[in-house]
Structure formats: structure tokens, C-alpha cells
């Protein structure tokens, strides 16, 4: 690693606040950061910690209500805060660039990928269109795209998420910048794709020696990629240390808490399952197909190919069992969950407690009481115009039960570790984790025997996720309900599931005991999936 005397990026004593009607909201407090050439600085923090604001501040792309202190931000010898917008637009994309979280939204949907790459070369390198397209092809080849010429002509929706992110990365590297900011570049991608993008990042980083600011919420990931890590809590860097030392001996309590909150597959949180003869649920040959044959197809005598959501899934679930379902997006995890709750049409048979369910009409009130679902985003699944009392009052009214409804809601709130006086609040007055607890309370109010959890911790921060999981496991012990736990977090599911079902493109690849998921005789896809998972930070041989 080459280290020159002037750092590539130097942020000193920098503070940022946003003006709001009710006064100033501090976002970043007296931050010092330096990144040398060839160095990767990891910036870790939970949502709202100010990590994305830091990226905007460096790129000098702040909203109108931003208020900064006198601190400085320097790129090499250039004082970025002294540049006007015109000078900045000359620096952006040329001397420093950015890779964004979600390639699906950071690429313009109506422009060809080639144009979105070539425009940077035309702007900053003074190339002609023809030159830029030729150079663009070479750049796309460099980021491992097999058919660069064809890729250039495609529109974003015609390529996969991983391919899109490769194009974004090629664009960021196009002008050989001094600094690249990576803002959670793999968070929106599937496990295996994310692993490939990380490998690409490491390769390009080594090749070019660019200074990188790598923003992430994932400590484990940074422990593998960054040279140094700065831990950001509520706008303050509480600890900044060489990666090896930070993970070996974290100093600050917040760093310790973050490390401890990451799921560790070796620490099992679920109690062993008591064997029982008859399964609670038995899914037999369940298929979900989307779309239907149109009259034009019939007219032209064309074969109609429905989109397959699930292909003949067969699985059993014992009473009280926690079944994890993993797989990349589009593998049919949620489709299965929706079919089991009657939100999708399906072919095949679900036997619940011995009773056959072949479709929506078989799902009577008893079935609905016994089978509950919790969704990923509490913001979307809780009605914003209803108070908690109304949201939780519905299952109480529908499924009866003894006692005063209001008292029952209050005691349920306490069971999910929320203060009873939340009963008169609206969802927006609660934090993300608290809202998810309300969604959990709603599911458990009907005393269900099967609860389907569809990515319920994906939108939450690590520390919040850990407490929600604790709650779920406690409810599992108390109620004995069976869980179907859908997630893409394989470390997490290995902690809490008895068995894990692996899905791929609508098919069920295999079901394995959670403890035996790492066995060498697992299916190829399962092994590929597990190989792509980043192990928790403290298990690395640092």
C-alpha cells in the first residue's frame, strides 16, 4: 500500500445540522476522518447515525436547509468547501465519485446503460461519443461483464441487479478518481450477488489504489473489507481504529454492543423441538402461477407461459417448529407465505391440523385465527390513520376471548415490551422497532398456532433486530406457536430455526436441519449460498 504525505480525503472538525421548523437538528458532530491513497475506511452506523449525510457533505450535495460549522473537507490539496457549484460539478465524477445502494433506482430507467456510462467520459475526459462508447465497452469488460458491447445497448430493466451494480461501479471508476464513496453498495443485492460485487470491489481497489470510504451498517462486512473502521453513533465518531484492533479489542460500549448484536450461527436461540407424530401443517405440491392466457394468445394459437412463483412445493411443519426459509429475491419465499395465508391463488393442497385447504374458500375464520402473518415493513402494514387501540382491537373483536378488550390490548403491549400507554398512539409516533412490535402483538392476539414472519427484521437496525428476535423467541417459548421465518439473513436463521428450507427460482432445493446446513453433502446451491455469507465479525481469524 502506498501512502503519500497528503491524505486523499481529510475531514477535520466538521459538523452539520439541518434547520427544521422546531429548531436545528444536529446530524454530524465534530468529525475527523482521513483516508490515504489505497486505503479503505469503513464508516459504520445504524440508520440515522449520519453516515449518508457525511457522504453528501463530502460530495457537496447538501439540501438547502443544511447548516455547517467552520470545519474543513479537503480532497488532496483542494478545499472542497471553498468550491462553487460549477467547480464542484467538474470535480464530481472526475476526482471523486460514488456508488449507490440500490442500482435499480440509481440508474435512469429510460436511458441505455452505455449512455449512462459514456456521458461521464464525454463530460470529464473530453471524448467524442464514439470514443466514449468504445472506452465504455472496455470498462464494462473490466468489471467482469461478459458481453460488454451488448450490455452498453441494454436498458436497466433488461439486466440483473448484479449487472446493474457492475455498470454503476464501472461508471464510478471511469475517470480514475482519487476517492470513491461506496454507500452500502451491496445492501440491496442478494447474498451471492453481493459476494461477487465485494470481490470485484476488492480487485478494482487493489488495481487502482483508489482511496475508498465504505459506508455500511454491517460490521461483519467491514471487518473483511476495510483497513480502518470509524464507528458512528448519532453523528459522533465514538471509535476509529485499525480493523484488526477494533474487532479484537473494541473500546467503546457502543462498538461492543454492535458486535454483540450481530447474529452468530453458533449461538442457538431456539429450544430443541419435542418430537410429535402428526404435523401441524402439511403442504403438498403447492404451486403458484401468475398471469393468465389472453385472448390474443388464443387467437394466435400461442402457448401461454405463466410466470411460476412456486413450483410444486411439499413440506411439513411440526407443532411448535421454527422453519426458516432462505433464498434470493424472486425465489418464491414470500409467494409461499402469501399462498399459505390466502393472499395468492394456488394449486395443490395445504393440510392444516388434518383439515384440507385447497383454496381461499377453505380458509374459514378458524384457519385465519390459527395462521397469522407479520410483514416486512410495519410502516406499510399498520394503518397510519388508526390508533394502536384500533389496530390491536380488530383481532380482539374478531376472535373474541374473555375479558375487557382494552385490558387485553394493554397486557399484550406489555408482553411485547411496550408501555401500556402506547394504546392511544398513532403508528408514526413510534420507532421502527416499536412498530414491528405492534405488528407482532397483532399477530399474537388471536393465539395463533402458526405465525409466518416475512422478512420481519430486514428493515431494522442490528441492535433493534436482536431485541425483536429475543421477543419472538420468548413468545415462541410461551405460546408454542410454530413459525415460518422467511429471511435472507442466513446467520440469523441458523440461530433460531429448527430446520431451514432453501428455495431457488420457485423451487424448493432442500430442507435441512439447521445444525446440518453446513454439511458438505448439501445441495450445490445451498453450499454456494452459505459460502457467500459473511461470517460474524468476531469469528474471523483476524
Amino acid at each position: 500500500m502506498t501512502t503519500s504525505l497528503t491524505p486523499v480525503l481529510q475531514v477535520s472538525d466538521y459538523s452539520l445540522a439541518y434547520r427544521a421548523p422546531r429548531g436545528k437538528i444536529p446530524v454530524i458532530n465534530n468529525i475527523d476522518l482521513t483516508i490515504a491513497r489505497g486505503e479503505i475506511l469503513g464508516l459504520v452506523g445504524e440508520s440515522g447515525s449520519g453516515k449518508s449525510s457525511m457522504a453528501s457533505a463530502i460530495m457537496r450535495h447538501l439540501p438547502g436547509n443544511a447548516e455547517e460549522n467552520a470545519g474543513s473537507i479537503r480532497l488532496g490539496t483542494t478545499d472542497l468547501r471553498a468550491q462553487n457549484e460549477r467547480a464542484m460539478s467538474d470535480i464530481r465524477g472526475r476526482r471523486m465519485s460514488m456508488v449507490f445502494q440500490d442500482p435499480a433506482t440509481s440508474l435512469n430507467p429510460t436511458l441505455r446503460l452505455g449512455e449512462q456510462l459514456a456521458e461521464v467520459l464525454i463530460r470529464h475526459q473530453g471524448m467524442t461519443t464514439a470514443q466514449a462508447w468504445r472506452e465504455g465497452e472496455a470498462r464494462l469488460a473490466q468489471v467482469g461483464l461478459k458481453t460488454p458491447a451488448e450490455m452498453m445497448r441494454r436498458l436497466p430493466h433488461e439486466v440483473s441487479g448484479g449487472e446493474k451494480q457492475r455498470v454503476v461501479i464501472a461508471t464510478a471508476f471511469a475517470c480514475n478518481p482519487e476517492l470513491i464513496i461506496f454507500d452500502e453498495p451491496t445492501t440491496a443485492l442478494d447474498v451471492i450477488t453481493a459476494r461477487q460485487i465485494l470481490d470485484l470491489f476488492a480487485e478494482l481497489q487493489a488495481q487502482t489504489g483508489v482511496a475508498s470510504l465504505y459506508i455500511s451498517h454491517d460490521l461483519a462486512l467491514l471487518s473483511q473489507t476495510a483497513n480502518r473502521v470509524a464507528v458512528l453513533q448519532k453523528g459522533t465518531v465514538v471509535e476509529q481504529e485499525e480493523t484488526v484492533r477494533l474487532f479484537r479489542a473494541p473500546n467503546h460500549s457502543y462498538t461492543k454492543a454492535l458486535i454483540a448484536a450481530a447474529p452468530d450461527p453458533d449461538k442457538r436461540l431456539v429450544q430443541p423441538l419435542e418430537e410429535s407424530g402428526t404435523p401441524l401443517v402439511s403442504v403438498q405440491d403447492l404451486s403458484v402461477k401468475f398471469g393468465r392466457k389472453s385472448w390474443v394468445d388464443s387467437l394466435l394459437r400461442r402457448d401461454f407461459q405463466p410466470v411460476v412463483g412456486n413450483q410444486a412445493i411439499t413440506l411439513d411443519l411440526q407443532p411448535g417448529e421454527v422453519l426458516g426459509i432462505v433464498g434470493e429475491s424472486g425465489s418464491g419465499k414470500s409467494t409461499l407465505a402469501k399462498a399459505m395465508t390466502g393472499l395468492n391463488r394456488f394449486d395443490g393442497l395445504i393440510e392444516f391440523d388434518g383439515k384440507p385447504v385447497r383454496g381461499l374458500s377453505d380458509m374459514d375464520r378458524g384457519y385465519r385465527r390459527d395462521v397469522q402473518i407479520i410483514f416486512q415493513h410495519p410502516d406499510a402494514s399498520l394503518n397510519p390513520r388508526q390508533r394502536i387501540s384500533e389496530i390491536l382491537g380488530r383481532p380482539v373483536r374478531l376472535y373474541g376471548g374473555s375479558g375487557n378488550p382494552r385490558e387485553r390490548i394493554k397486557s399484550m403491549l406489555e408482553r411485547v415490551r411496550l408501555p401500556a400507554h402506547y394504546i392511544d398512539r398513532f403508528p408514526h409516533e413510534l420507532s421502527g422497532g416499536e412498530k414491528q412490535r405492534i405488528a407482532i402483538a397483532r399477530a399474537f392476539l388471536s393465539n395463533p398456532r402458526l405465525v409466518i414472519c416475512d422478512e420481519i427484521t430486514s428493515a431494522l437496525d442490528v441492535s433493534v433486530q436482536a431485541s425483536v428476535i429475543d421477543l419472538l423467541m420468548e413468545l415462541h417459548r410461551d405460546t408454542g406457536a410454530a413459525y415460518v421465518f422467511i429471511t435472507h439473513d442466513i446467520n440469523l436463521v441458523r440461530q433460531i430455526a429448527h430446520r431451514i428450507a432453501v428455495m431457488y427460482r420457485g423451487d424448493l432445493v432442500e430442507i435441512s436441519d439447521a445444525e446440518r446446513i453446513t454439511d458438505p453433502d448439501r445441495a450445490d446451491y445451498t453450499r454456494a449460498l452459505l459460502a457467500a455469507v459473511t461470517p460474524p465479525a468476531f469469528t474471523h481469524s483476524l
Binding site: S89, G93, S106, P109, V120, V168, S294
Partner: protein, 315 residues
């Protein structure tokens, strides 16, 4: 865009026209007008009336009458006007030509003014220019064209005498005189559409300028003009196409009022006088022609949308 998509849309357009034809025919049947009385006058003898009814097929069952009429329409034969005794088709199509001149010019004026107004308002959001455009468009939306038309005639034509108050000269006959007489009606018809569309362009563009991909384009250091036009406007105009196509419906209505006030011999005016005279074949044909225009414009808008946004695959 697949052939199957186009085929579906063509079929849907024909289906719409079929439904419209049934409605039009049904409504004119309910109208309190006896065609035979209309033609022979109040004092005709019952025998003469009955003979005429026989001859015109008015005693046939309704469905048979519909088939006769619809069959004629398909063969481009819209019947004979009860008032003039002339075939309806040629007169109505020449009137349609006049109306289309007016409508196309109004549409062009609207696009030339509304799109830049929307862009300026979006770019200068919250500033004076935005407020000015916002104010103007609220005024425009709240003024029906019979008010703007009357005001325009009163002030510009009558009081100041800058332009002729009414009348129509085909452009092929006297270009300057024709344009002079078209300025006021075209402006009046386009006012409300300008107001409407400029608001639409503004709000769409403001939304698009806040998307991740526009932010990414800025952070690539692209020239602000390229960010605005290539990345922003292109995406913001997509929904506007739909709105403009829907506005054509409004345009057809507005044209009727404006033609009446400015004495322009267009299809709207023909329709008005036909309604007053209970001239059923002209009413039926006029409404059919307007509905067909509207359907075709929306069909064209759908094709354009699918062509501009390649993600759209409706099949």
C-alpha cells in the same frame, strides 16, 4: 412493444367505438323527436306520416334500425340530413377539417407554452417564477372558455379592435386573414389546457428531480442542463403524454363552445344546430366522429408511451 400489444389496443379501440355507437343510437331513440314529423311538418296527414315511416324503416324493430345505421356508418354512409336533405358525411367531414385546424393549433400553442412554463416553475421552485406560473395556471383553470372567449371578444376585438371578432376563412383561401381570425379562438381554447398541463409538467419534473437517478446524474458531475433535459424532463414528460391525450376530450368540448361564440363552421357548431333542429342523422354522425377522434388520439398516446418507455409491455 409487441405486435400483440398493438393488436389488443386496436381491438379495444374498435370495441369502444361499438359501445359508443350503441349508446349514441340508443339515446337518439329516446329523444322526443319523430323523424317523420320533423320532415313533413306538424300539419302532415297521418297517412303521409305513416307512409314516410314505412319508407324510412322507422317501424322496424330498434335492433334492425341500429344494424341499418351501423352498417351505413361502416360503409362511410352516415345517412341523409333531415334538415337539408343532403348526405350527412361530406358536410360533417368538411366541418371536422375546420375544427381540427383549430384543435391542432390550440394543442401546438399549448405544448409550446405549457412545457417551458412547467420546466421553469420546477427549476425555480418556490421562487417568483414558480409562483407566477402557479398563479397564472390557477386563474387559467378557473376560467371557463365561454368567459375567456367573451372577454377576448369584448376587449381585443371590440374595444381595441386589434383582431376581427368572429368568422372563419380557410387558410388555403386567405392565409393572413384566416390566421387573424384563428388567433383568438385558438388562444381561448388553449388557456385551460396550458394551465392544466404546465401544472402537470411542473409536479412531475419536481418529483423526477428528487429521484435517486437524478441525484446520481448530478453526482457524476454532469452539466446541469444535461441532468435537467436528458435525465429529468424525458422521464417527467411520460405521464404528461397521457394527460395531454385526456385533455383532447376537453378540447373537443371546448371547441364546441368556442366555435359557437366565434361563428366558426366546425363540427361543434354543426352539432349544436343539429341538436336544436333535432336532426338525428347529423347528431349521431357528429357524436360518432368525435368519439372516434378521442379514441384514436388515446390509442396514439398509448403507442407513444410504450415507444418512449421501453419497460412497458402490456401483454
Amino acid at each position: 412493444m409487441s405486435a400483440s400489444y398493438i393488436l389488443k389496443r386496436v381491438a379495444l379501440t374498435f370495441y369502444t367505438l361499438f359501445v359508443v355507437s350503441v349508446l349514441v343510437f340508443g339515446i337518439t331513440q329516446i329523444l322526443p323527436a319523430d323523424a317523420a314529423v320533423m320532415m313533413l311538418g306538424e300539419n302532415a296527414t297521418p297517412e303521409a306520416l305513416e307512409a314516410l315511416r314505412q319508407q324510412m324503416g322507422l317501424n322496424d324493430p330498434v335492433w334492425l334500425q341500429y344494424l341499418h345505421w351501423a352498417g351505413g356508418v361502416i360503409r362511410w354512409d352516415f345517412g341523409i340530413s333531415m334538415r337539408t336533405g343532403q348526405p350527412v358525411g361530406p358536410a360533417l367531414f368538411s366541418a371536422l377539417g375546420t375544427s381540427l385546424t383549430l384543435a391542432v393549433l390550440a394543442l401546438a400553442l399549448m405544448l409550446v407554452l405549457a412545457v417551458p412554463m412547467g420546466i421553469i416553475a420546477a427549476v425555480r421552485r418556490g421562487k417568483l417564477a414558480d409562483l407566477a406560473v402557479g398563479f397564472l395556471s390557477y386563474v387559467g383553470v378557473s376560467l371557463p372558455e365561454f368567459v375567456t372567449a367573451t372577454l377576448a371578444v369584448l376587449l381585443i376585438a371590440d374595444f381595441w379592435g386589434w383582431l376581427p371578432p368572429a368568422g372563419y376563412i380557410p387558410l388555403t383561401q386567405d392565409f393572413v386573414g384566416g390566421i387573424e381570425r384563428l388567433i383568438l379562438p385558438v388562444t381561448v381554447v388553449s388557456v385551460m389546457m396550458i394551465a392544466h398541463v404546465s401544472r402537470m409538467v411542473r409536479s412531475e419534473l419536481v418529483d423526477v428531480m428528487h429521484t435517486d437517478y437524478v441525484r446520481a446524474a448530478r453526482l457524476k458531475g454532469l452539466h446541469p442542463r444535461r441532468v435537467l433535459f436528458r435525465h429529468g424532463l424525458r422521464n417527467a414528460l411520460l405521464p404528461t403524454i397521457t394527460i395531454v391525450a385526456l385533455d383532447v376530450g376537453y378540447l373537443l368540448g371546448g371547441v364546441i363552445v368556442v366555435e359557437e361564440i366565434f361563428s366558426i363552421p366546425g363540427i361543434g357548431r354543426s352539432l349544436m344546430s343539429a341538436i336544436q333542429a333535432r336532426d338525428l342523422p347529423v347528431i349521431q354522425a357528429g357524436v360518432m366522429i368525435m368519439a372516434a377522434t378521442y379514441s384514436i388520439v388515446n390509442f396514439a398516446a398509448d403507442l407513444m408511451y410504450a415507444w418512449l418507455d421501453k419497460r412497458i409491455q402490456y401483454d
